[in-house]
Symmetry: C2
Subunit: 711 residues, 2 copies
């Protein structure tokens, strides 16, 4: 799909002016009958052309014997026939000049074997003719603002049809239909619902991109079982940031068991979950873990108001609920606003003595007996310059709804700050009244604060995106020079030994220790003298990854005599522990002053490409799992954020009387590793700099060891 003509090409599929249905049926409950019934019921304004050789009229509309017999080209052909008839229908559609197709039929990739073969042919046919095809094995879509119900989903039988700013794109038909049904019942107004099934031609990324460009759409939720096209998703994410329309993603298969189940369900590979997390965070995509979280997000993002900061003012009729919300603010990264003194003063004059004018403001149920006081108190919180959003908590009190709801609506209209309503244990009438507005309405306090937390998170994402876009773009250029260098190295097997690994690091301006490879004791003694005592001696072998584990490292050698002893000792240790290893020699290196040991690594991931990791070095990275990960490339801001995420960051900043470390130099290493990872992404499977010693501020860093594994 070329993004330039997306509007034209996908427009024919998703906003067609005419629709033909092959396999059209008079049975309003059948797959070939439902779309016609729905299109009529929901007021589709375009032309409908049923196709079925057995009828002249279907559901009251003139029916055609075949695709060829249609009076002219149409925008969209819905295909509701047996799998083995699909390819023929598509070919005829192509011959007729039909612009797009939607294939409900099952029996393709999802059943493997012959089905897979047919799907390949379908893809080829679509590619040859640049025809967008939704499906096969899909439930189709609903374009609400166009009243286009090109779907047979049971959710449409239920009769809800609320138009609005939220789009939903789902890979799985069953889950998609259920999410859609709940969204509609929760009062979430929608622009699009698309269930693309096998996504053989048009993918989730394509749909996302299209609806992000749709003017009626303000937020897109997506349900994904696999990440099929990462680069397309990146384009969508950029569009999301630029248009400030959030993507809310429910990507399942987090756990090992879930990932296995996903693979057996759709055949898609889940991808390592922490990388999925990293990817979403870097892209500014909001990840949700379940349907509830998705709906909380859709509710709050459907409202056009956005926060300008992270400070929340809370007004509650219950002190206890105030406590619950204060807890939730901390959990979801929000600040309790500090109200100005005169705001508190004014509140004090409005509230009974057992209320509290401090945020969370406890107005008590008593104040509700005078609606003016309720309104004035809420006004105080909303108008205070210290608040970026206001949360109003009401409980029970359904008998006051006719006074309270108009007051809340008036408040909402009079401010640009988001106003969130929580009415706990209200009733159905209250629910319906709020669902008819764009005011985010919740019935449990922590849900509301969760949603507000996501609104704030999206603010941070877009701000970071704009800052990064304005300042610098990551260096992603290919480096022919180092690629050529790799070819020239004398590489046996897939592992670069330490000497060669360090050469590569050096080529990317990553500081490495001075080393000389010695083949025998005499060379070792000479090398030690050249480098200067104290020195370190380490075995060099392509077969030994963890040198310490086999007694292949001796530190703090101070004299020629010790060099000779150490040489013998290391050779003996290795011979005992790894008798089969090929030995290149022993490396003589400068002994470094003490520094904080960090690990910096690269890894090639099949889904995301090159990935960078930084964490505490030594055995701690494995045991304490204090590491942070990003998909490459990264920029300077990303690098700092990676470090700030580490618990061990406090060590770098200088904990308990220790001096601050040279963090800037560590950041430079991360950026250079990013550059190297991008340039050599086709060659490097893994890079492990461990330890990278970080010295005191001003004294830089140095890689004491490095190991590159090639792909």
């Amino acid at each position: 799909m070329n993004a330039v003509n997306e509007h034209e090409v996908l427009g024919a599929l998703l906003d067609p002016e005419s629709i033909a249905i092959v396999g059209a049926s008079n049975n309003e409950k059948s797959i070939g009958g439902r779309p016609i019934k729905f299109l009529k019921d929901y007021g589709y304004q375009g032309k409908i052309y049923p196709i079925n050789p057995r009828y002249d009229i279907v559901q009251g509309i003139t029916c055609y014997r075949g695709i060829k017999e249609l009076p002219g080209a149409v925008d969209l052909l819905i295909v509701a026939v047996r799998a083995d008839l699909v390819l023929g229908a598509l070919q005829e559609a192509q011959d007729k000049g039909i612009k797009s197709a939607l294939v409900f039929s099952s029996g393709f990739g999802e059943i493997g074997g012959d089905g897979q073969e047919m799907q390949k042919q379908l893809v080829q046919l679509a590619a040859d003719n640049n025809m967008p095809v939704c499906g096969p094995n899909c439930q189709g879509y609903i374009n609400h603002w166009g009243n286009i119900t090109a779907s047979f989903t049971g959710a449409l039988v239920r009769g809800n049809f609320k138009k609005g700013p939220a789009a939903l794109i789902a890979q799985s038909g069953a889950v998609g239909g259920m999410l859609y049904a709940i969204a509609q019942e929760t009062g979430i107004g929608m622009s699009y619902m698309i269930v693309g099934g096998n996504e053989a031609v048009v993918s989730t990324g394509d749909y996302l991109h299209y609806v992000l460009n749709d003017e009626k759409t303000r937020v897109v939720a997506t349900y994904m079982e696999g990440l099929k096209d990462v680069s397309r998703l990146k384009e969508c994410a950029r569009l999301s940031m630029e248009k400030e329309k959030p993507i809310v993603a429910m990507k399942v298969g987090r756990s090992a068991a879930g990932s296995k189940a996903a693979a057996s369900h759709t055949g898609s590979i889940a991808g390592e979950d922490k990388l999925v997390d990293a990817f979403f965070r870097q892209m500014g995509i909001i990840r949700v873990d379940n349907a509830d979280e998705m709906f909380h997000c859709l509710k709050i993002f459907s409202n056009p108001k956005r926060m300008q900061g992270d400070r929340v003012g809370i007004l509650s009729i219950s002190g206890g609920a105030g406590v619950i919300m204060a807890d939730a603010c901390e959990k979801y990264g929000l600040q309790l606003a500090k109200l100005q003194d005169d705001t508190e003063e004014k509140l004090r004059s409005l509230l009974p003595p057992f209320g509290s004018p401090r945020n969370p403001v406890d107005i008590t149920a008593q104040v509700l007996t005078e609606v003016d006081k309720f309104y004035d108190s809420a006004r105080c919180v909303v108008d205070d310059p210290g608040t970026d959003a206001a949360v109003i908590f009401i409980g029970l009190l359904e008998h006051l709804k006719d006074q309270l709801i108009p007051a809340i609506k008036k408040l909402e209209e009079s401010t640009s700050k988001p106003i969130i309503i929580i009415w706990m244990a209200g009733n159905d009438e209250i629910r319906k009244e709020f669902q008819a507005t764009t005011i985010p309405f919740f019935e449990e306090p922590t849900q509301a604060i969760y949603a507000l937390g996501q609104l704030n998170k999206f603010r941070r994402y877009t701000a970071a995106y704009k800052k990064a876009a304005a300042r610098e773009t990551p260096d992603t250029g290919k480096s022919a020079e180092t690629a050529a260098m790799l070819d020239q190295l004398n590489i046996e097997g897939k592992i670069l030994d330490e000497i060669n690994s360090k050469k590569l690091l050096h080529a990317y301006n990553i500081p490495v220790t001075s080393d000389i490879l010695a083949k025998n004791q005499a060379e070792a003694a000479a090398a030690a003298k050249q480098i200067g005592f104290p020195i370190v001696m380490k075995i060099v072998s392509p077969d030994i990854a963890h040198k310490s584990d086999v007694g292949g490292v001796i530190l703090g050698i101070n004299s020629e005599r010790e060099v000779i002893q150490a040489f013998q000792q290391i050779m003996q240790n290795v011979k005992e522990q790894k008798p089969e290893a090929h030995i290149d020699g022993i490396m003589i290196s400068e002994m470094l002053p003490p520094g904080i040991e960090m690990l910096v690594g690269l890894k090639h991931d099949d889904t995301f490409g090159p990935v960078i990791v930084v964490g505490m070095g030594g055995i701690y990275v494995e045991i304490l799992k204090d590491a942070s990960t990003r998909i490459l490339p990264i920029n300077r801001q990303d690098a700092y954020e990676m470090l700030e995420e580490l618990k061990s960051y406090a060590l770098l900043k200088g904990a308990r009387g220790q001096k601050e470390r040279h963090i800037e130099a560590l950041v430079d290493v991360l950026l250079n590793v990013s550059k190297m990872g991008m340039a050599l992404q086709d060659r490097i499977a893994e890079l492990d700099i461990n330890p990278l010693l970080v010295f005191e501020k001003g004294s830089g860093v140095k890689a004491a060891d490095g190991l590159v594994t090639l792909r």
Copy 2:
């Protein structure tokens, strides 16, 4: 409250055979009118005595002019009069022989000042007469099975009244009423709802204890803003374990902001939240964070069925939902059951080819067209010996409800394993049909798995409790000897120096290094010879807590000459960095072989008493926060669990080629510290053993430093 006569004393309050209401009103909406209306509406079978000097009849019932005028003693007096009239009424009730009272009236402790004073008098009056009083400033309670609505909560106006096995006890009136209303609307059948307000006399712990002993009650949910009576809660927790009736606690004030808000709301101190977590976990109390989680728990625990293990079988009409549930199982500590081969074989014969017989079993929507196949597939999962519970996921398909619901009920009745139903986007009829059963019914898959996770957690809690009860009880004996020793020590200020701290540790069989205190260089040299090189030298001063930070420690001293140099160096460092410190001398200690540095500590907490902490030693405990905490006393099993919780436990077990450490010896230290903490709980404010060196297996542990702070 004495537990022995609890049934009699609290029974008069919570299960009265006759109720008088002072402040009785004909206004059915007033606080004095509502309880009478509710008692009549909800079918209370006992006698009702309205009291009001102004009426002869109230709401159709004979009214009395005053308490004195009552025809005889009653079980319960409800007090709905102005605050300043309450004490008089209670005194009259006492004179009349009325057994208990319930005070709705506000204006006591919650407003401070005079109110606080009146509350004190109320407490005194109740204590003098052993009269249980609910409130003041409370909403009262509902005893569902007794049809006793001794409350004015607005939730009763709504008209739901479903009897069942769940009790709810809430401190805050507003939140309590809302939780109750939602519970009833969610179809949770209830035994008791109690909102005790200021809890001046009868506390949450007392109510908990009473309802745990109630035969109709199977689970108790409690909403708490502060922990008022920890020892009473401990008794409740033991009762919960013994009766296998879970306590589900929503304790708010987790965050700093929330805790502050709670303190200003109820005046109760929240307690350090991680200690609250530790306390609940040790006591087998299930902590929930919000109202949703509370209801999920109540739903699942209301069903009498319990899991025998942690293995879940899942049957889903949607592969995608199967993935979501598999993810949730991992998140909530459940295993996906491995089905037996013949189960899978049988499922394969029942399912269409695009279904999956592997757990999570994907039966697809197609199988539902034949309800027998649905039933048979579910049977396979339920009957498989590898499953401890079965989860059935259905979506939409409301048109199949008349076939599916009877099949599910039949299945439920035919097994002792818990069956959980998730019907996503069903409809109100489906909801109501399931709410009328005890089958746990959910509408979102992760909620259901969360609830099942809590069921499994409670199984683990009760199993651990029984195991511990059967095996050993923690040593909690007072030790007069060491207490006397403390008195004899030459203590200046509140800090015991290292020498005295180690004496105390030694008295509790905690291995410490050999140390000699030297006042001058000559004594130091002699001590070093006596202990044997290499040695360590450390400053001893009650004013210096962190010796390394002031240059007060020198390691690895190998000769008499170095001893003299080190003595001078340390004295100079300390003089420069802490000129005002009182110096006792320098301690000469044995230099220990390398070991893993752990920290073991004690702390006195105002809410929970003595608390023990273990974690990695050195600066890591502060930075990496890898520590685990328990309220004392602990037993051997607790000690092992504390270590297993640590990320650094892998280090103790021997990571990356390192040898395993002497874990048993470390556990002994924890138990001895627990013993010491209990025995000296009135004396010790804090103990810090850091580092405790843990040597290789068989070589024990040794405390290299210790610091005791007295209370």
